[in-house]
Amino acid sequence: LSRIGDELYLEPTESGLSLCTVNSSRSAFASFLFAPLFFQLYEPGGPGPEQELQRCKVHMKSFLGVFRSLPSLEKTVWRCLILLKPQAGRLVLQLHCKYGVTKTHNLTFQECERLQAVFDTQRCASSITGPAQVLAEAVVHFPQTLAEVTLEAGSGSRIGLRNYVEEGAEPSKTMVTELWLAKDEFQAVAVAPGSRITFCLKEFRGLLTFAEASNLPLTIHYDAPGSPVIFTLEDTVLEVHLVLATLSDPESNPQLPPTNGASHLTIQLDDFADDLESYMIAMETSAYEGGSGAPPSPTFPLRTPDPTKSDPEEEEEEEEGAVPGTPPHKKFRSLFFGSVLTPGVPSLAPTQEVLAEDSDGEY
């Protein structure tokens, strides 16, 4: 999670403890949901009958500081207690260690809105399931500095990975690395032939590291270019989702009516950062909500969050998220509001027509 954003959102729900994060440009969202069974004791609400389920966000670095030295933690810590004390304004992490030693960390936290990415794996045309090692070994061939990678479904259901080359680059001066994985390297391949998506490698690598360590099979759900790609890991007590925006296809017709809004990502929080592998906690980021009034977005159907509820600050943040040079900025649509992140673009109220986006000349 720390590879993605600078802040960690913790949300206890009835179905488990959710830890999630989003990056600054709102183009990557990850969540880990730990089912109650994962814990020895899980009490989401307070002792009172009508207690509201509290959620909070903390700085990723502060939280990571508690779990600084993993090897020694494994040897010395027996139990970890996590308590949210809203009155004291503290998130308490208490480690019970060898020799009766207790280490108590009282972290400051901020109250926050619910961080929720809306996506629907059911609506994705293609999916690939396989051991994370296969993909991890594949991405090793790409340079660490590579920003985006293209995943492609080839003939015979082969899966290809290629580094994404920007349009302006000179073909004679660019090195292209391409590799193909046979269908039988994976457990399941159900892809639309010829389908292709391009996404950010950095955040994906973070998930791969965790996936390899956890030994869980990784599933990739994707649809058309521009629609988010969803990576999931699942077992009985853990559900992990990584949602990345994908590069939209320049040839796509911007006039296409949006499909029924099946997903909206209302990220109300700022960046997430840091190590997926240090968080064994999964957060659930499923928000499979039925569409109603989806904002017109040609390549990525978004559902408008209710304008009365949306935080007016979010629209400003959208502009701030348009940091030049970050891959999602170029042509990625914001996962969350369907508007392209470019500086100077007036932040669109989600209910606006797509036409406003066309005038950006992004296509």
């Binding site: 020799y99 009766g100 030693v101 207790t102 280490k103 108590t104 009282n106 400051t108």
Partner: protein, 281 residues
Amino acid sequence: MPFSAQPPGSGERYVLAASLDNARHLSSLLRAVHFRDHATCFATANGLRVTVEDAKCIQANAFIQAEIFQEFTVQEESVILRINLSVLLDCLTIFGTSSSPGAPTALRMCYRGYGYPLMLFLEEGGVVTVCKINTQEPDELLDFDFCSTNVVNKIILQSEGLREAFAELDMTSEVLQITMSPDKPYFRLSTFGNAGSTHLDYPRDSDLIEAFHCNQTQTNRYKLSLLKPSTKALALSCKVSIRTDARGFLSLQYMIRNEDGQICFVEYYCCPDEDVAEGEL
């Protein structure tokens, strides 16, 4: 190879002459107190004491008793000199710091007295290095006036339990707060950093605690940046004794066993941070 007891080629008396088969017995201890460049060395018939101070509120002493040396002769009642500890350590480790059990560096140390440099002869595998380090006028040293009769609280711990804790202390905190009490939380180390506060609690019946003599609940704060160097001594030691007196002065005594199984001591004294009133538990 041991050196001859006679100083090489001279009939002059040395006020201090010492020989040590393995210079590491000295260098590792000196490193445990090396947080400033200069140190004051005291030599008496009992052995050598090296003192380093900082900010007029912290003092560290390394004791190497005469028995550790193969030869230790002091001609006067006591010999005092001030020396650059960084340079001394560089010389003692001139053949490298990696430990190779087959070839220890042998040391001979000679000092003619006030105004003369400290001479070091180091030998490893037949190669001899001669070092002359200028000495300086010794400074007035702090006297913490810490005596056992004034001790209010005392805990003796196995160092293993504290090592990680000290290494992982939140350095964004200005102070380290130490609470010692006959009641809960018994022994607590606290920091107050940017992320929030952290408390490390040791119960009195923990296996790590060898002796627990707390008479009064005391909470004192000490500047973390000053105490942090004591982590080196802690890393070398097998046991540590933590004592506070009525004024809140802290004494940390580390028992260090060297490669030959001999015991040496390093102690740190620290006075409480006066900027802050007694901290909350």
